[in-house]
Symmetry: C2
């Protein structure tokens, strides 16, 4: 009974296990199996350990996911002078943020639980505010404008992530149903009484084309900046 475990020796090297290792493994898992499917147990399994071990470096699942969120934001490169004037740079910054977040499934959901205070989140906010000021937005409104842009980033990232997921699922099923959800919405509208929903019927065609989520996000962003420059914003 004294020499019960040879585990410590049989296990070769093992991962040193650290806060960074846990967060990195969790992010990789988000990309692999999706945000909702990432559990403490699976993260532990990926690190070849038990779930309890994670709590040395992370206090909570929520805190872990907040760290993962900030790690993902590290991928966003700040636009430089080559990207043009303040407006072009702002559009570039926002576009990159949407792209990066959408590339990690529904990870952007983390940002809905409250203001993120991670290093990278603050780095992006700093640059966003700087560009807004450079564009002449009133100091008193800059915070609100950044908030509005943040909401746009998160919403668009989630929408795009969902679209990417659907597309991957359809590739996996190898079915030519093109866009099931799209057709669904179309048929729902078609079944509506035209007398009560005339506008939905009239615009049915343009409502159900969800394909170019990129162009739509860019259009929305232009609208927002236009609004900031035009009326109450400046």
């Amino acid at each position: 009974m004294s020499t019960t475990r040879d585990n410590p020796r049989t296990r070769p090297a093992k991962a040193p296990l650290s806060r960074a290792a846990v967060v990195t493994a969790a992010l990789a898992l988000v990309d692999e199996i999706g945000f909702a499917a990432v559990t403490m147990r699976r993260v532990a399994q990926a690190l070849d350990t038990g779930p309890a071990s994670l709590y040395v470096y992370v206090s909570d699942r929520d805190e872990l996911m907040a760290q993962v969120y900030d790690l993902a934001l590290a991928e966003v490169e700040l636009p430089g002078p080559a990207d043009g004037d303040w407006r072009a740079r702002l559009e570039s910054l926002v576009g990159r943020a949407v792209g990066v977040l959408a590339g990690h499934d529904d990870l952007a959901m983390v940002a809905l639980t409250g203001v993120q205070t991670g290093t990278n989140a603050l780095r992006l906010t700093e640059e966003m505010l700087r560009l807004l000021r450079e564009g002449g937005i009133d100091d008193a409104h800059c915070a609100w404008a950044a908030d509005l842009l943040d909401q746009h980033v998160i919403s668009s990232a989630l929408e795009r992530a969902g679209w990417l997921r659907d597309q991957r699922r359809q590739e996996a099923t190898e079915q030519a149903m093109i866009l099931k959800a799209e057709r669904e919405l179309d048929s729902v509208i078609e079944a509506l009484p035209p007398a009560e929903f005339p506008t939905l019927h009239a615009l049915r065609g343009s409502l159900t084309t969800t394909g170019d989520s990129d162009a739509r996000a860019e259009w929305k962003l232009r609208v927002i900046i236009d609004g900031l420059l035009g009326g109450a914003g400046a």
Copy 2:
């Protein structure tokens, strides 16, 4: 053993149990204990039955919550001619939607899982599109504009719901810490190196005043509509 159960008689009347009853109970529970805390078991308990019984009327927790979401939207009254021109009406409609959703904790999260096709969601979309067209927004852009406004509604509702929840918690704790999260963000910014984050430092005051979430949501809405009228929207 033959007269084992007098249950059917001892139980006085019992709830007839129906799809509507389940959804209504779930909505009441959302208001009482919060969106995240609503489980199938608790809904069943509120109806004095077991969790398995719910699955006769509802296929899924997600489907149940989608129904609850649409039921909540029924509270939104469409603005009438007394509310002014198309723009005033649109602002009124969006404001009411935000208010109603924010009054049901994080219920707006449901709308992040995909396009909602419930009766009331469509009712609001119809009116939104109608007003946008009346305002002269190009048909090709109306769908995108409605999407943008939807994102605003959901984001603002979630933000406001979180604020209301924090406030209720602080009332419960009877503490005068005013706004813990606010102070937290303030101290986080204060601790940042000023050389790398000059704008965050400069705007620190206006960034941390989260109090008037109403005024902020209204300002954002004005910005969006201004943007729709100004540049690429019309």
